[in-house]
Structures are given as structure tokens and as C-alpha cells.
């Protein structure tokens, strides 16, 4: 029994990682109808930014909560900047071309970040400094670390924060208007370029939070870490209903639980395949995802 509970906890802490990244995917899609395949790689950049900041602050030897917050903020700032640059120079020039053009551009940016990252950071994996002293708690026979709890908590906070920004603020209203109809929004006096840049900055900052939080719980980082995690977060976003914020959260958690469930059987090496099988099934059965509402394509 404690094994089942333990696996549920393992699944949730893995799922929180996917959820954090899926939130960024889903928001950018919600506003721009653009699948930003480079999102997973911005997450990798966030982890590396956090790594260099934490090393500079020598947090490995002097773990502190304040230091962790500083590192997270720094990584967010770096990635927000990167997000704005990517949007300005890669996506904006092709915004009025076909949907396919921006999709291919996104894949190009993704590859650029992955292999550029190998050049700049080296291909060797690095180990993230331990910014917070690791503690293990026992709940009904199951073990959970404070870092995993933190990842889950941050994912939930980010989800509510994002819901708030999108539905309760002026910029959120502008985002929704841009998402509804870019040209009409522009006619109504909304500076859509700024709204889109903000969306990218926010999405990338979220990816940075994900990068730092994940590196805290699972300390190994390398330039290709965003590839598989990014794809699975994408599956999570589609599963939950792409464009839907609580959907991304649910999708991430489900993927995490599913993967853990598979790992717990004799078929542990099929783990990655299952996530993509889920993607295929959901696209066949319910393309709009769990929480998504079916939309008719604009002509």
C-alpha cells in the first residue's frame, strides 16, 4: 500500500515538472495559436542561468532560501529577455505567413538553442548546486523531499497566478483580445506587438522557474535536457486542452502519473513511448483535450 502511495507521490512530483513547462506552452498557444517548440529549450536556458547564478553565489556550500529566490528571479529575467529576442527576431518576421512557417521557425530556434547550448555550455552534464538543504518527510510510509513539495507548490501557485493575470488584469484582457482577433484588437488601439512580446516574456520566465525548480529536485542538467521534457510538456498541454491553463496543470500531472505507473511495471523502458501514444490517442479521440472546448477553424 505504501508503495502505491509512494508511486503516486513520485508521479505528482514528476507531473508538476511537466505542468510547469506545459503552462508556458499553453499560454503562448492561447494567445498566438503558435506552438513554441523552443519552449523546452528556454527551460534548459533557465536551468543553466540558475546554475551559473547559484555557483556565483556559492549556494552549494551556503544553502539559503533567500539565495534560491534571487537565483530564480535572475533566471526569470534572463529567460524573459531571451523570450523577447526570440519573438522579435524569429517569430515576428513570419507572423503573417502561414501557420506552418512559424512552426518550422520554432523547430529551428529549438535546434539552435540545443546545439548552440552544447557549444557554449559543453555537452557534459552538470550537477546543480544544492540551494536548499534536502529534507525527507515520511507521510503514511511514503517518502517525499522538501524539494519535490516545493516544485508541486510552485506549479500550483504559477497556475493560479497565470489565471489571475489572464482573466483579471488589463494586460490579460489585451492578451485575450489579441488571441480572439489580432487585427481587430489592433484597430481597437491595442499595441499587439507589445502584448505578444509580453506574452513571450511571461512564458519564458515561467520556463525559467520550471528550469530552476526541476534542477533543484533532479540536479542533473545538460543542453539537451529540454528536448524530451519539452515534448512531454507539449503532450501534457494537448492532453489538458491546449490553450487552457488549468488543463495544462491536469495534463502535466496525468502524464507524470502515467509515466511513473509505466516505470513501476516491467515495461519501464517503454515510458517515453507511452507519452506519445497518449498524444496520438487524444488527437484521435478528443483533439480539444480534457478541458478544451471544440473550436471551429476560422476561415
Amino acid at each position: 500500500m505504501d508503495t502505491v502511495l509512494q508511486q503516486v507521490i513520485n508521479g505528482l512530483s514528476l507531473g508538476a515538472i511537466y505542468a510547469l513547462i506545459a503552462l508556458g506552452y499553453t499560454m503562448v498557444y492561447g494567445v498566438l495559436r503558435l506552438i513554441n517548440f523552443a519552449h523546452g529549450d528556454v527551460y534548459m536556458l533557465g536551468a543553466f542561468a540558475g546554475y551559473f547564478l547559484a555557483t556565483a553565489l556559492d549556494l552549494d556550500r551556503h544553502p539559503s532560501v533567500l539565495g534560491t529566490i534571487v537565483v530564480t528571479m535572475g533566471a526569470m529575467a534572463v529567460c524573459a529577455g531571451v523570450g523577447i529576442v526570440i519573438e522579435r527576431f524569429a517569430y515576428r518576421p513570419v507572423r503573417h505567413h502561414s501557420r506552418l512557417a512559424s512552426l518550422i521557425t520554432a523547430i529551428g530556434v529549438s535546434l539552435l538553442l540545443e546545439y548552440g547550448g552544447q557549444v557554449v555550455f559543453g555537452a557534459s552534464p552538470r550537477f546543480f548546486p544544492q540551494m536548499i538543504r534536502s529534507e525527507t518527510y515520511t507521510i503514511a510510509g511514503a517518502q517525499v523531499t522538501n524539494q519535490s513539495l516545493l516544485v508541486i507548490a510552485v506549479a500550483v501557485v504559477v497556475m493560479f497566478g497565470l489565471e489571475f493575470v489572464v482573466h483579471r488584469t488589463r494586460i490579460g484582457k489585451a492578451m485575450r483580445a489579441t488571441s480572439y482577433n489580432l487585427n481587430v484588437a489592433k484597430l481597437m488601439g491595442i499595441n499587439t506587438d507589445r502584448v505578444i512580446a509580453f506574452t513571450f516574456a511571461l512564458g519564458s520566465a515561467l520556463a525559467a522557474v520550471g528550469g530552476v525548480m526541476v534542477a533543484l529536485a533532479i540536479p542533473r542538467i545538460d543542453p539537451l535536457m529540454g528536448l524530451m521534457t519539452g515534448l512531454k510538456a507539449f503532450v501534457a498541454a494537448v492532453l489538458g486542452g491546449i490553450g487552457n491553463i488549468p488543463g495544462a496543470m491536469i495534463g502535466g500531472m496525468l502524464i507524470g502519473l502515467m509515466e511513473t505507473g509505466i516505470s513501476a511495471t516491467a515495461y519501464s523502458t517503454y515510458r517515453d513511448a507511452v507519452a506519445f501514444a497518449v498524444l496520438i490517442v487524444i488527437l484521435l479521440v478528443r483533439p480539444s483535450g480534457i478541458l478544451g472546448t471544440p473550436v471551429t477553424e476560422k476561415v
Partner: protein, 390 residues
């Protein structure tokens, strides 16, 4: 149909021509090669998952080459030039690195790789061009079966598995063990299979094997599965990067039993396992605290040259180059075929034990068991016992 067949034949012809040209190229320089420096190619994982191995093997080989050159070189004053290629820890890069070393740099012999998977990928190239290849530390049984130009200076996994199984059964008194293997690595799979076989033969039980893939970072699900079986010890047969995380996550899950690994654990990143490394053991090729003068001289020279303690990979690479130099001296030529025959007759004392090739071009050597400890931010391997092949 006819057109296709013709095209196929043209393609074959072109390929044959290409191979012929490549072969000529290799031969045409033969005259020059008998007088200048002796080129020895080293291919290693200087970046990527196996970077710690690559670094150590390069340093060990460099030290040996420097010592040989300082002592007057080989074959009447010819120096050894060590050319190093990085394979980024990827098997496909390994085979192209060796192709380059053999066809372009005209290496007389190849040293490398450490990881069995990458040696298995590159060894057929060396075999095809009849250039001897000596792997310092690839322990998978199949490596030297690739061909008669492939040698190794380390023990093989069936023996390593036996050593680990015996140690767990006799010294740790384990009766039920779990085995966790890296499905992508020939080394890990081979070692795991051998442990299962040997431990069962001793009368112990092994739980259903669980696996992961190189590069994974979250092992909590598979570890929880193992925990539910309540084994007395766990074998993690993969490499150091994953091992560091596996021990940490196992301890976080409250698993306090001994965790054992093979020589694949030897690498700088293992230190990220931190305090979780307490109560872990590995089998290894050599122990730096062995009082034998040949070992102590090597440790001293290495420390002076590189400013750190040599690990077993460095020691093996050092031995590989020394074995090669010894063979070149006896063959009195760098010709591939003569060199192969000289290598097969190797019988020298090395840092990692006495090196004598058996009929399978493997070395029958004892293994040591070391306890892994974490002291002041660094990993220490403490000698426990030596186990000889039966």
C-alpha cells in the same frame, strides 16, 4: 528495372573505387611512416555523458607517452605522437573518429574507448583496416570478439559480475538482491546479466530486473518498485552520472541497504551522490593505495603532471600505452600484422596488475572491491579486498 540495376552496379563500382583509393592512400605513405614519429590515435569521450572517462584516459595515455619519449622513444629514437579525437560520448562519433585516425592520420595503433558501447561501434573499423586497437577499460565480453586486432588490458564483465556477486553474498551476507541496469549500455546490460547468473548460482535470489536509459534523471519510480521487494542489497550497473542520482534518490526514499556498482562508477561526477554514497561498494581494476612500487611511482608521476589523484581509468589507459610500446619494441616495426602478433604475446607488469593476453586477447586479472565514501566534498575509494579469477 534495368535502369535501377545498372544504377546499383554503378554505385557499387563507385564504392569499390572509393575503398580502393582509401586503401591506396593508407599504403602510399608507408615509406614515410617507418622513419618519423609513431602516431598513436586515442579516441575518447572528452565531452558528453562520459567526459570524466575521456579526460582520465587521455591523461593516463599522455603520461605514458611522455615517459616513453623521455626515455628515448621507440625503434631507435622515434617518438610517440598521441593524436586525440573526441567522440562526444556517442557511438556513431566513435566510429568516425577511428576512421579518421586510421585513414587520415595513419595511426599505427588505436587506444580507446572506455565505454563498451563505443568500443563496439568503433572496433570493426580498426579490424577492417588491420590496425591494432587496445581498449583500456571496455569490460563487455563481446568487445574482443569483434576481431583479432582488438585487445584489452582489463578484466571482463563475467568476472566482474562474479566478484560483485561473491562480495555481496559472502561479505555483505545479502540473500535477496535487486538489479538496476541501463538498457542503452552494453556494459551495463552485460554486467547485470552476469551478476544475476552468478548470484543465483551462489544460492541467492534476484528480484525482477528493472531498467532505465542513459540520461534519465528521475529514478524514483523504479527505485520504489525495488523498495517494495525489500532486497538486502541493490546493484546499479550503469555509469557514474546516473549512479550519483540513483544513490541519492534511493536514500531519499528511505532505502538504506548497500548499493553496489561496477567500475563504471569511477568518475568525477559520482561525487554528486554526496552523503548518499555511504554504504556503497564497487569492483575496480586497481587501488591507488596499493603499496607496490610500480603503482606508487605511477601515482606520484600522475599527481605531479596533472595535480590530482589518478583513477582506475587513467591507470588502465597508461597501461594500454605501455603495452603498445612494449609490443612495438618487440615487433621492431609498426606494421599492423606484426604489431598484432607482438600484442598477442604481451607479458608485462603493469600498474593495474600483471598483463598477459589470453587466447581471447583479454587479460586475466584480479579485481579489487572498494568502499565508496564521501569526505569533504570528494569521493574516496577505500580498498576492501582483492578477488582473483578462479
Amino acid at each position: 528495372m534495368l535502369k535501377n540495376a545498372a544504377r546499383g552496379r554503378a554505385g557499387l563500382l563507385a564504392m569499390a573505387l572509393f575503398v580502393a583509393i582509401a586503401a591506396c592512400e593508407r599504403k602510399s605513405d608507408g615509406g614515410g611512416r617507418s622513419t618519423g614519429d609513431i602516431v598513436v590515435g586515442l579516441y575518447a569521450s572528452l565531452t558528453g555523458d562520459g567526459a570524466s572517462f575521456g579526460q582520465s584516459s587521455r591523461e593516463g595515455a599522455e603520461l605514458a607517452a611522455a615517459e616513453i619519449n623521455a626515455a628515448g622513444g621507440l625503434l631507435g629514437g622515434r617518438r610517440i605522437t598521441l593524436l586525440v579525437e573526441d567522440d562526444q560520448s556517442k557511438p556513431e562519433e566513435a566510429s568516425s573518429a577511428v576512421t579518421k585516425l586510421v585513414t587520415q592520420d595513419l595511426a599505427a595503433a588505436i587506444i580507446g574507448e572506455v565505454a563498451s558501447r563505443r568500443t563496439l561501434a568503433a572496433a570493426p573499423v580498426a579490424q577492417r583496416y588491420q590496425v591494432p586497437l587496445i581498449t583500456p577499460a571496455s569490460t563487455n565480453e563481446r568487445v574482443t570478439a569483434v576481431g583479432d586486432y582488438i585487445f584489452r588490458v582489463c578484466f571482463i564483465d563475467p568476472f566482474q559480475g562474479e566478484v560483485l556477486a561473491k562480495f555481496a553474498f559472502n561479505d555483505l551476507k545479502a540473500r535477496k538482491v535487486a538489479v538496476l541496469k541501463d538498457i542503452q549500455q552494453d556494459y551495463s546490460v552485460g554486467l547485470a546479466d552476469s551478476i544475476v547468473k552468478q548470484f543465483t548460482a551462489l544460492g541467492g535470489t534476484v528480484t525482477e530486473p528493472v531498467s532505465y536509459s542513459s540520461g534519465d534523471a528521475d529514478f524514483r519510480a523504479v527505485l520504489t518498485k525495488i523498495r517494495a521487494e525489500r532486497p538486502d542489497a541493490v546493484f546499479a550497473t550503469g555509469y557514474y552520472s546516473e549512479a550519483a542520482i540513483i544513490v541519492r534518490q534511493a536514500r531519499e526514499l528511505g532505502m538504506t541497504m548497500p548499493i553496489l556498482g561496477g567500475d563504471g562508477w569511477v568518475g568525477d561526477p559520482l561525487k554528486n551522490g554526496r552523503e548518499a554514497l555511504k554504504n556503497t561498494y564497487i569492483s575496480n581494476h586497481y587501488s591507488g593505495d596499493n603499496p607496490d612500487p610500480i603503482v606508487q611511482n605511477f601515482v606520484k608521476a600522475y599527481r605531479e603532471k596533472f595535480g590530482r589523484e589518478p583513477d582506475s581509468i587513467a591507470a588502465l589507459a597508461y597501461d594500454a600505452v605501455k603495452v603498445l610500446a612494449d609490443a612495438i619494441g618487440r615487433a621492431k616495426t609498426t606494421d599492423g600484422k606484426a604489431l598484432r602478433d607482438a600484442l598477442a604475446a604481451t607479458d608485462v607488469a603493469g600498474v593495474t596488475g600483471h598483463l598477459k593476453m589470453n587466447a581471447r586477447r583479454d587479460v586475466d586479472k584480479p579485481a579489487v572491491i572498494q568502499e565508496v565514501t564521501y569526505v569533504n566534498g570528494d569521493v574516496k575509494f577505500v580498498y576492501k579486498t582483492t578477488i582473483s579469477p578462479s
